[in-house]
């Protein structure tokens, strides 16, 4: 208890509350605060004001009646969603896909960045990097079309694996294969682009450290483990915390393009549900409610993973 009292006393030598300090600061840095006003207004008008639109999650919204005249429904849509047995499927599909992506897609750019970092010839490195960025600019529609061509029953990979394994794999229809296809496509498309931020972090590593380590007899792997990785650890944690915020976001274009009657049992995620019921079937209130729940869970995930990062001694997000 005593230590805690000392701790709290240290950052507040002047005493006084938050508002008093803010007042003093306002008086001292008047112009800085005045210059901040346009930015604040921007956030209020364009980020916070539109948020009151979530009110439609609590009513039976009709665009023609407007948010004020639409019938109030309270928590009806939330109850409705949880009263269908399917919501567990939607949630588990979302979580499984997301965690597969965190386990397999997230480390891929880190590994690739480390590999690129070891390349000596700058010429070769630049060409490789450019080639690796390319897939990012290919639309997911095209990626899926290419997949259809090479994994369909007429496709080269289908034929090859059929011959090698002696049995055919239904790449496009089998629910067991579906998630691996999605993860594989994401890795193919985004890994190269994802290296950018890690390569930037790698340039900050002090080269003297490597020289010193070399003199001490550290081999390449040891240098990687003891110097490079610790140097980019805070970047990795930051990216991971950000990624946690989007655990429930699977996107819908990719999944809709890849889904069909055979694999729909695993391709229906919350995002796909919102798209199909909100945009295709026009149930705006229902899907706003589902989207709202998703956002709340995402906020909780970001805050808690940030806390964990702090506990582990990392800077985290804020």
């Amino acid at each position: 208890m005593t230590t805690k009292a000392v701790n709290t006393a240290v950052p507040r030598p002047n005493g006084g509350g938050y508002w008093k300090k803010l007042g003093l600061d306002l008086a001292k840095n008047k112009w800085l605060y005045i210059m901040m006003i346009p930015g604040l207004i921007y956030f209020l008008v364009f980020k916070y004001l539109p948020m009151w639109g979530i009110v439609i999650a609590f009513e039976d919204y009709s665009p023609f009646l407007g948010p004020f005249k639409s019938a109030w429904k309270g928590l009806y849509w939330f109850q409705r969603f949880f009263s269908t047995r399917k919501w567990i499927d939607y949630l588990s599909n979302t979580l499984i896909l997301s965690f597969m992506s965190i386990v397999f897609t997230f480390p891929a750019p880190i590994i690739l960045a480390l590999l690129l970092n070891e390349i000596r010839s700058t010429q070769y490195k630049k060409v490789t990097q450019t080639l690796l960025y390319m897939p990012h600019f290919i639309s997911i529609v095209i990626v899926v079309s290419i997949t259809y061509v090479i994994f369909g029953t007429e496709g080269i990979i289908y034929k090859l694996t059929t011959q090698m394994l002696g049995r055919s794999i239904d790449y496009l229809g089998d629910p067991k294969v579906f998630r691996w296809m999605i993860v594989g496509q994401s890795i193919w498309k985004e890994t190269g682009w994802g290296t950018i931020i890690f390569l930037a972090a790698l340039t900050n590593v002090d080269t003297q450290l490597y020289e010193a380590a070399m003199i001490d007899g550290a081999n390449r792997l040891q240098r990687l483990w003891h110097i490079t990785l610790p140097a980019i650890r805070s970047t990795i944690v930051l990216m991971l915390v950000l990624r946690m915020g989007s655990v429930l976001d699977t996107g819908y274009e990719h999944l809709i393009l890849m889904s069909n009657a055979l694999n729909r049992s695993v391709s229906q995620t919350l995002d796909v549900f919102v798209y199909q019921n909100g945009i295709v079937n026009g149930q705006l209130s229902y899907t706003t409610a589902v989207g709202l729940m998703k956002s709340i869970v995402s906020v909780i995930l970001v805050v808690s993973s940030n806390k964990i990062a702090h506990l582990l001694g990392e800077e985290g997000l804020y």
Partner: protein
């Protein structure tokens, strides 16, 4: 190609010089239509579109069209109706009984047209429409749109009779049982040949097969007057079992679920054909035959495509799947139109159904987008230019696009007739002869809140399970589990709600 375009431009110029004479009261009309030719450029009135020019001269209406690719039209409808201040004035609603249509109509998005349609003196063409079809699209007894007429008896089977002959069926099968036998024999012909051409859109194939086999369409009423879902009819299960058997025998492409409906034709039109039969709208059948005649040089006097419909099932009953409700969607007038402008817009829709209107919307202008040959029939290319027909079609698509989507034809088809090939005449004859066999969904106009909310989700799950069953991914127990889910997830409520309406009507 360039020559043609410049010809059109000259023509447009001449027309625009003439135009100031016409139309005392001009009016711009914003319309939103589904587009089947989104890859062709579109010419607006300002760019010199001769068809729009002609419409303007005759009616004083400057059409301003927003094209939405047909595949995304459903989504765009929702988004458009959510943006109340930027509604088009006239638009196509593709599903007259969809939740979005019912809700928007009730919330006051569209003008009530009931009184206009009843006014035969001022709007004779609209008033000439079929009462039964108007009833099918009415919401709470009021009309919020003009339906786009389609024949009932369009659905059936078309197949290559040259392949059927190899399987021992030189004559058309006379019964559903014979038809099934023919399919299985054709599947045994060649391991690389699929029989039924299927794609992602399976509702048609499953529907045609099961209804032909004796199942009701979507919902049935049993002897005790209880409403039940069609998939619980034994005849439905039999039809499904047949498709499963054919799939197992190699008669259906295992990749069919990855084929978009836009690429449905590919398997038939490849060389050699990968699939030789389709359960669909039969107008696709005579188009296939005409394509074969044109591109493969098959004999016009001996069609290689056969149309098969109205054959008795094993109980001796003939049933045809209803392709539609006598309508393919409807044209609505939104509240973006002021009350003063409304009668003029309705008048314009009435004109669209006149002979002039129908011809301009469906065929375009004579000698620009269609030609009357010396035999008196309408063609899509000038006489003696058959080999350049693709070029003419491309130019027509630029000018005409999908303007026919605005056509309603409620008073019958008044466009210049086309030359009837053998199959096309057979198709037209079928439409009249077989209308009596087309069955209807008894719950079509019934209201069910649960269906509006949950219907599409749970019906999709059932359809998915049926596909998995056909493809051998699940067994009968799995299929029945999916049906049980349907009941639990809202199906029981839907049945209850329908039953209430049905009982009330029966009294």
């Amino acid at each position: 190609m360039k020559k043609l375009v410049s010809l059109f431009l000259c023509l447009a110029m001449v027309l625009s010089v003439m135009s100031f004479a016409a139309a005392e009261e001009d009016m711009t009309l914003n319309v939103m239509l589904p587009d089947f030719y989104s890859d062709a450029d579109w010419k607006t009135l300002e760019d010199g579109n001769p068809v729009l020019q002609a419409i303007y001269e005759k009616t004083g209406v400057k059409l301003n069209v927003t094209w939405v690719p047909n595949s995304g039209y459903g989504e765009q409808t929702t988004l458009t109706l959510a943006d109340v201040n930027n509604l088009p004035e006239v638009m196509v609603m593709q599903g007259p009984r969809d939740a979005i249509m019912l809700k928007s109509a009730r919330d006051g998005a569209f003008w009530d047209l009931t009184d206009f349609v009843a006014d035969a003196a001022n709007y004779p063409n609209l008033a000439a429409g079929e009462k039964s079809v108007y009833d099918n699209i009415a919401v709470d007894g009021r009309l919020y749109g003009i339906y786009r007429a389609r024949a009932y008896a369009r659905a059936g089977i078309y197949y290559r009779n040259d392949y059927a002959a190899q399987a021992g069926y030189a004559e058309e099968p006379a019964t559903v049982e014979e038809f099934k036998d023919m399919c299985l024999k054709m599947a045994a012909l060649d391991p690389n040949l699929y029989v039924i051409n299927m794609c992602k859109y399976v509702a048609g194939t499953i529907g045609i097969m099961t209804v032909m086999n004796g199942a009701p369409y979507q919902y049935g009423v049993n002897a005790e007057g209880k409403i039940y879902p069609a998939f619980e009819d034994p005849a439905f299960q039999e039809g499904l079992d047949f498709l499963r058997e054919l799939y197992a025998a190699g008669g259906i492409d295992p990749n069919f679920m990855t084929i978009e409906s836009g690429n449905w034709d590919d398997a038939e039109r490849s060389d050699p054909p990968k699939a030789v039969m389709r359960l669909d709208c039969l107008d696709n059948g005579y188009r296939y035959e005409e394509w074969l005649e044109e591109n493969k040089g098959t004999d016009k006097e001996k069609p290689v495509v056969s149309l098969l419909t109205a054959i008795p099932n094993k109980d001796g009953k003939i049933q045809i799947w209803p392709q539609n409700i006598g309508a393919s969607g409807e044209i609505v007038i939104t509240k973006a139109v002021s009350a003063e402008k409304l009668p003029k817009v309705v008048k314009f829709l009435d004109w669209c159904n006149s002979q002039d209107g129908q011809t301009l919307l469906n065929c375009g202008l004579q000698d620009v987008t269609y030609w009357i040959h010396s035999d008196g029939f309408r063609y899509t290319y000038p006489e003696g230019e058959a080999e350049n027909s693709a070029t003419y079609a491309a130019t027509t698509n630029v000018i005409q696009h999908s303007l026919n989507q605005l056509g309603m034809n409620v008073n019958g088809d008044l466009t210049p007739p086309t030359a009837a090939t053998l199959l096309r005449s057979e198709y037209n004859k079928n439409l009249e002869d077989n209308a009596q066999y087309v069955i209807a969904n008894p719950c079509l106009t019934f209201e069910s809140e649960t269906n509006n909310l949950m219907g599409s989700t749970i019906n999709q799950a059932v359809e998915d399970a049926q596909v998995q069953y056909i493809a051998g991914k699940i067994d009968l127990a799995g299929l029945q589990a999916a049906y049980a889910d349907w009941h639990a997830e809202g199906g029981d409520l839907i049945l209850q709600e329908y039953q209430t309406v049905y009982d009330a009507q029966a009294k």
